[in-house]
């Protein structure tokens, strides 16, 4: 990429110019923020075909998938931000006790300054622009570093953004790990990172040098717990949703996709039969020919996924699929039944179209199974059983938990989207995006007219008593003390 060759001084100069631009106050104006958001909307509408092409080239995504997961979702988010912007910018009044006469308090959001957004390759447009919406709505200057593993999308963003957004305050810097490391050495007012935990650790370590706050959207092994469902309609819907969540979004290369399934032994074989039937419906007899399976992003990940199946015990657990084609970076949607729990496929985040099914004696055992592993970004539970629902919510911990569906939580603007523990820190989407790129400044205004005269030295018991009453909001006590009708604690104790 061109930006790799940029000299360090040049990068620093560019960033300093951006900080100057921020300091000029331009990005704070509501009108600027609105114009940027509208610019994004125009970009998404006018460059739709180009985006479809880039996503198809980088990841083999069909336009329907691209629209559902990236463009459509972004349009919804921009509109939501435009709708809420004025309200969000005005902050909140803070309630004060009556003692605080002629005083007002408020929480006023302000931009952080110059922020860095590092995006991932699996939803290269979505994961670049969704944080950008928040950063711009909050009034910041932004540097976006898209993933080099999705090169067409990265180029598209680098070319298009200067035409639709304020190019003095919003820049795209392209490149690989080298550029990434150099960017991390700079001082930012916030870093927003989407990617793996391994790089996430590097990001927060670099941020620590400058006390820069970070949001890390990482990953994990998101389980789908499928209870034994009695209704065949429910079963079909559950299977459809699980398979859709696994295979139909970026071929499983999605942080909130279903990583593996947990099911009771007695239900497992009918579940697998149902799955096989559904797979044929979704992907046809020859999945490779179907337009509905995205590609693995590159050879490195293809080989990584292939090696997950090399272990003979894992290979022998394949009950559907398993074919691969290195040249076209295609992996067939594959189902495995009870691969060994120590195998890599059950230890690492799969991030691909391989679906292990783990059988348990009782479905309640899934709680312990999940809790003995790192906290995932999401947990999906398909059940109609109320007690099981309640247990899952209160006894497991994850970024989010969804009942009877998967992935859809990311479409709900009113819900925070983020991880916990190894799956991340911080959150965004909807107003949470605005908040994550803002500083919530406490502002208190007092009058000269009223003061609590006993605030000031010299100190004595009388003042102490007045303070005690004040802190207890004991208004009567204050009046009595002032009138000399209430003895101080000390006096009454005879000290």
């Amino acid at each position: 990429m061109e930006d790799e060759t940029k000299a360090p001084e040049e990068m620093e100069r560019e960033l300093e110019e951006m900080r100057e631009c921020y300091r000029s106050g331009r990005t704070m104006e509501a009108s600027w923020r609105k114009s940027q958001l509208k610019g994004l909307l125009r970009l998404l509408r006018e460059r739709e075909e180009e985006i479809f092409r880039a996503l198809h080239q980088d990841l083999g995504k069909h336009p329907a998938e691209a629209y559902r997961d990236e463009i459509g979702s972004l349009i919804k988010s921009v509109n939501y931000a435009l709708d809420g912007l004025k309200r969000w910018m005005s902050g909140n009044k803070a309630k004060l006790p009556r003692l605080a006469l002629l005083t007002t308090a408020k929480i006023l959001p302000e931009p952080l300054g110059l922020v860095l957004v590092i995006s991932s390759w699996n939803f290269p447009i979505g994961l670049s622009l969704e944080p950008l919406i928040g950063a711009l709505a909050a009034g910041n200057a932004v540097v976006l570093k898209p993933s080099e593993l999705a090169p067409e999308c990265s180029s598209l963003l680098a070319n298009a953004i200067p035409h639709y957004l304020d190019d003095k305050a919003v820049k795209v810097i392209q490149g690989g790990p080298g550029i990434g490391e150099r960017l991390l050495l700079q001082k930012w007012d916030k870093i927003f990172f989407t990617g793996s935990a391994r790089i996430g650790r590097k990001v927060i370590a670099a941020a620590a040098e400058h006390l820069t706050p970070v949001t890390l959207e990482l990953g994990g092994k998101c389980p789908a717990v499928i209870d034994t469902l009695s209704s065949s309609f429910d079963r079909k819907v559950a299977v459809q949703r699980v398979l859709g969540a696994k295979f139909s979004s970026s071929a499983g290369q999605i942080c909130i996709g279903v990583d593996y399934v947990l099911v009771e032994k007695k239900f497992s074989s009918s579940l697998v039969e149902l799955m096989k039937m559904m797979m044929k419906k979704m992907f046809g007899e020859n999945p490779r020919e179907s337009q509905s399976v995205a590609r693995i992003v590159n050879k490195h990940h293809f080989l990584r996924l292939r090696s997950l199946l090399l272990d003979p015990l894992v290979k022998s657990s394949i009950v559907y699929g398993g074919s691969m084609d290195e040249e076209s970076l295609f992996i067939e949607p594959t189902i495995l039944m009870d691969p060994p729990l120590q195998a890599a496929i059950m230890m690492d985040e799969i991030f691909g179209p391989l679906l292990p099914i783990v059988t348990l004696n009782k479905i309640e055992d899934s709680i312990e199974f999940i809790n003995s592993r790192p906290k995932p970004l999401a947990i999906y539970v398909f059940t109609k059983d109320e007690p099981l629902r309640r247990s899952m919510v209160s006894k497991t911990s994850s970024g989010s938990i969804v009942f009877n569906d998967a992935i859809v939580q990311c479409l709900v603007d009113t819900l925070p989207f983020g991880g916990i523990g190894e799956s991340g820190m911080g959150r965004y989407h909807g107003k949470f995006s605005f908040d994550t790129f803002s500083h919530q400044k406490a502002v208190m205004r007092r009058s000269f007219l009223v003061d609590v005269w006993f605030r000031f030295p010299p100190w004595n018991d009388h003042k102490l008593q007045l303070f005690r009453s004040s802190y207890h909001y004991d208004y009567l006590g204050i009046v009595l003390t002032v009138l000399g009708l209430k003895r101080t604690n000390r006096a009454s104790k005879g000290i």
């Binding site: 704070m28 336009p63 329907a64 629209y67 459509g72 979702s73 919804k76 803070a94 309630k95 308090a105 929480i107 007012d189 650790r201 927060i204 941020a207 006390l211 429910d234 559950a238 949703r241 398979l243 139909s248 992907f283 179907s290 509905s292 919510v393 911990s397 970024g399 989010s400 938990i401 969804v402 009942f403 859809v408 939580q409 709900v412 009113t414 819900l415 989207f417 523990g421 991340g424 820190m425 959150r427 500083h439 919530q440 400044k441 406490a442 502002v443 208190m444 205004r445 007092r446 009058s447 000269f448 003061d451 605030r455 000031f456 030295p457 010299p458 102490l464 303070f467 005690r468 802190y471």
Partner: protein, 479 residues
């Protein structure tokens, strides 16, 4: 008890690791999650503070020479208030928050559930050692976590008192104190925590965050900075001065993170200095400097060549008693030491500018402070200040009082810190807000699933657009 263990063997990595393992076991058992447990622990803190107020006052006097009224007010009373507020609101805080869902996920319902993070580490500071240790603990307990508290060794009497009292009043299966200095803190920082809450300076704050980075542990860092006071003309100078004075020297003799660090005013306000002269503070009403390191640091700031002649009030010091008198300096050069680090002591430099608007540039050219204050009656100036000065918190026509307002988040920005607490913000700081979505098996759209077709694409556009008309049109093949 952790305090006693220290005397027997060093608190090293191994000890830290088994402490964390023990607390994880306690947390996993679910004890700390119940409303009853949280309520009982908060009541314990309240009782502890009530029943031992004199011990607290004595410890603070030993550590800092803190006047009794300051100890009672700024430490005991504030902590009590914190507990009471949490007790009052706890049930409400613990309830899930229902949120609206839209057509895109119809039919569905959703809520945000607060859950504890797990086992958290709280590292406290020396200047308000009782309050700054326990105020975060209030939040951690209210949110249902197991807690390890590491009080500051620079306030040893308070540290020992906390270890003793928390051992007596709190559930020691889930709440522990580890006393010690750098080696013990390092051992603690090597462990994996679910959150680390640190109050102190930026240098150590970086060390804490770097240690947390290894385990992807989120942090709250309550740091400091140079909190400026901008003083305009045309105001009630007497009230302004009293508020500045009490906010500076009435707060641990200036050793407070939100104390006024320096004043910026216009040249025609030199009367300020004579006014301070009329408000002598009794020496027994003032804290001493905490230790000789800080005493040396502060005298160095005072004795720097370019600054030593600028003292217009005070300047006396007593190294044996570690006391420095309230001192005011006028027109110190911007590049002096005293203007380039957080003073954290009883020295108050005054900078003069030609036009007050210049003060905003001065403030914004430095690191963002924890607090910034302005005294003015000029509405335009007030708005300009509020909208353009970035700091943790701002107060117009007073200093430091925002600390006591539960409804305001207390925290820094940039160099002055990450995260916030107080009131519900404490509960939130120690909670994970989990998104929960409930869907039924009904209401599915075939367009979600492969095989993908252009027809599905049209429908999808309409559905995500959320308009009924759009959906109908797409269904009838018209978009």
């Amino acid at each position: 008890m952790a305090g006693e263990d220290k005397k027997q063997q060093p608190f090293d990595s191994k000890a830290a690791s088994s402490l964390v393992a023990e607390l994880r076991g306690a947390f996993a058992s679910g004890t700390t999650r119940s409303y009853q447990w949280r309520e009982s622990q908060l009541r314990g803190l309240l009782r502890m503070t009530d029943e031992h107020e004199q011990d607290i006052v004595a410890a603070l006097r030993s550590d800092l020479g803190k006047p009794e009224l300051e100890s009672v007010l700024y430490e005991a009373a504030m902590l009590r208030n914190s507990c009471k507020f949490a007790l009052k609101e706890l049930q409400r805080w613990m309830m899930p928050e229902k949120v609206k869902t839209s057509l895109t996920t119809f039919p569905s319902s959703a809520e945000i559930v607060s859950e504890p993070l797990g086992v958290v580490l709280i590292i406290s500071a020396w200047n308000y050692p009782y309050l700054l240790s326990l105020d975060p603990v209030v939040g951690a307990i209210a949110a249902g976590n197991a807690v390890v508290l590491k009080p500051s060794e620079i306030a040893p009497a308070t540290s020992a008192l906390l270890a003793k009292l928390l051992g007596e009043y709190m559930d020691s299966s889930s709440i522990r104190v580890v006393e010690g200095a750098v080696p013990e803190t390092t051992a603690l920082l090597e462990q994996k925590w679910d959150k680390i809450f640190y109050t102190g300076n930026g240098r150590v704050g970086r060390i804490v965050m770097a240690a947390a980075a290894k385990h992807l542990t989120p942090v709250v860092l309550e740091l400091g900075g140079k909190s400026p006071v901008v003083v305009d003309s045309g105001i009630n100078l007497q009230i302004a001065c009293r508020r500045i004075i009490v906010g500076k020297w009435g707060n641990n003799n200036g050793q407070a993170c939100i104390a006024s660090d320096y004043i910026i005013t216009t040249k025609d306000l030199n009367e300020l200095e004579t006014f301070y002269g009329k408000n002598p503070l009794e020496s027994k009403d003032l804290s001493r400097i905490v230790n000789s390191d800080h005493f040396t640091r502060l005298t160095k700031l005072l004795d720097e060549d370019k600054v030593s002649k600028k003292v217009v009030y005070g300047g006396e010091r007593d190294p044996t008693k570690l006391q420095i008198a309230p001192t005011i300096l006028l027109d110190v050069p911007r590049d002096s030491l005293i203007m380039n680090e957080e003073i954290f002591g009883p020295l108050l430099p005054i900078l003069t500018v030609d036009k007050l608007e210049e003060s905003f540039d001065i403030i914004n050219s430095g690191a963002k402070p924890l607090a910034a204050y302005i005294f003015t009656n000029d509405k335009k100036l007030k708005e300009h200040f509020v909208n353009n000065v970035s700091a943790g918190g701002l107060v117009v026509n007073d200093t430091t009082v925002h600390l006591a307002v539960h409804a305001l988040p207390f925290g820094g920005v940039g160099e002055s810190g990450i995260g916030a607490y107080h009131g519900k913000f404490s509960f939130d700081a120690f909670s994970h807000k989990k998104a929960v979505v409930y869907r039924s098996f009904m209401g599915d759209a075939a367009i979600r699933y492969p095989p993908y077709t252009n027809g599905k694409l049209r429908l999808m556009k309409a559905l995500l657009g959320g308009s009924i008309l759009g959906i109908l049109r797409a269904l009838f093949g018209r978009s």
